[in-house]
């Protein structure tokens, strides 16, 4: 297919941002009627690919992953979050890495968390429950990993297993011991009572 050499030159300059069309081109794309259509087969394949990509997107399942996602999305530094949440820098860091049980944080802080990030109480409770379960079962996971490590497996295998283990604990509906469950229920009740 042929085209004018000058047009090619100007297109390259436009694509490389040496010149601009001041939005005239972008606007015209919306108004123009497409002259070439993608085939139906390509359209179908693309729809499948997009649906898979959408499903694979990281959905925050713990308090840590939620905080990390918010911070990255809004390009915030940890300092800008921990003071607004009313926790110390150390506690914030442990929260972001899911290294501290939500039971050790007061109900007031969780209510502020919900308000600050516009999280519904149901979602907050789900986040807290999953995070607590992860922290509670964490040591068991560490022991398993240590055993696995002792068998002189490669570091990459260890990392893969750690990730798989974490995911398993997060997604599996493991029930907590009665005493732990009672503590968790008390925190949830305190958060809800304050609403």
């Amino acid at each position: 297919m042929k085209r004018s050499a000058v047009d090619v030159l100007l297109q390259v300059a436009y694509l490389e941002r040496a010149i601009t069309a001041h939005g005239a081109y972008e606007g015209s794309v919306l108004r123009k009627k497409p002259r070439t259509l993608a085939s139906a087969a390509v359209q179908k394949v693309l729809e499948e690919r997009l649906a898979v990509a959408l499903e694979e997107q990281a959905v925050p399942v713990t308090v840590g992953s939620f905080l990390k996602l918010i911070r990255e999305e809004q390009k915030l530094r940890p300092q800008e979050l921990f003071s607004r949440m009313g926790v110390t820098q150390n506690v914030y860091r442990m929260l972001e890495y899911d290294r501290i049980s939500p039971l050790r944080i007061s109900a007031d802080v969780w209510r502020r968390f919900a308000q600050l990030f516009n999280v519904s109480s149901e979602n907050l409770v789900a986040l807290i429950q999953r995070t607590h379960r992860l922290v509670f079962f964490g040591p068991s996971l560490q022991i398993t990993l240590a055993r696995y490590d002792a068998r002189k497996n490669k570091a990459m295998k260890k990392e893969t297993m750690r990730q798989a283990g974490e995911e398993l604990f997060l997604r599996a509906n493991l029930s907590l011991p009665v005493q732990e469950q009672r503590k968790l229920d008390m925190l949830v009740k305190a958060i809800r009572d304050g609403d």
Binding site: R3, A5, V8, L9, L10, Q11, E16, A18, V29, L50
Partner: protein, 221 residues
């Protein structure tokens, strides 16, 4: 069929709703494929693949997108991603040698040799910048090689500048007439002439083409 708004697409995608994918494809796939094929002259198969990559990038980054000024923000974002993908495609082609023989000669042009020389000179400089080792200065080096084009355009009248830039991107004459205040017929007639003027002025920035430039400038006068 009801018009699908950009806000609806964004909300559906952010909520993980599969309908958002179908709506994104419905609104953008054919538009972008058509642009890639007709404006940037990419082969249909490659264009479909390129547009698939664009829409996939949109879905993957949707959580980072926020409306700031208005409904049009999403369209501008999609177009920016599209533009970047087309640029990568052009860079890939350029770094392996642009097929110069596929260019049309300018309609009504009397000095076709000059335009070929000038375009080749600019493209060689561009290719050279692309083929050098990639480092943090690559972007500025590449755009530096194309600065002559921007400077040449600056020397021209506003309406000429708008006409050249917009027609290169296949913006309809009717829309350009709205931007320039010139009648469509006049723009169509003058387009080829303005291209020649641009080439003649651009040639002045390349001393090695000076002999051809003299001929062309004399012709322009």
């Amino acid at each position: 069929m009801a018009r699908i708004s950009n806000r609806q697409i964004v909300e559906e995608l952010k909520a993980g709703n599969r309908a958002g994918c179908a709506h994104l494809i419905q609104v953008y796939q054919n538009r972008l494929v058509s642009e890639a094929v007709n404006t940037f002259r990419i082969a249909i198969g490659e264009a479909e693949e390129l547009v698939s990559d664009v829409l996939l990038a949109i879905v993957n980054k949707i959580r980072r997108f926020e409306f700031r000024k208005g409904e049009n923000d999403f369209h501008i974002w999609v177009m920016t991603v599209f533009k970047n993908k087309v640029r990568d495609h052009v860079r890939h082609i350029a770094s392996t040698g642009l097929p110069m023989e596929s260019y049309d000669e300018m309609e009504g042009e009397t000095n076709q040799g000059l335009s070929r020389c000038v375009v080749s000179a600019v493209m060689s400089a561009y290719q050279d910048a692309l083929n050098r080792e990639r480092d943090e200065d690559t972007e500025s080096r590449v755009s530096g090689k194309l600065r002559a084009i921007a400077e040449t355009l600056e020397q021209m009248e506003t309406w000429e500048r708008v006409l050249l830039r917009c027609r290169a991107l296949d913006v309809p004459y009717e829309e350009i007439a709205g931007y320039t205040g010139k009648p469509v017929r006049q723009l169509k007639v003058y387009h080829a002439r303005v291209k020649q003027k641009f080439i003649a002025r651009l040639a002045k920035q390349y001393p090695e083409l000076s002999s051809s430039t003299t001929v062309m400038v004399a012709h322009e006068a």
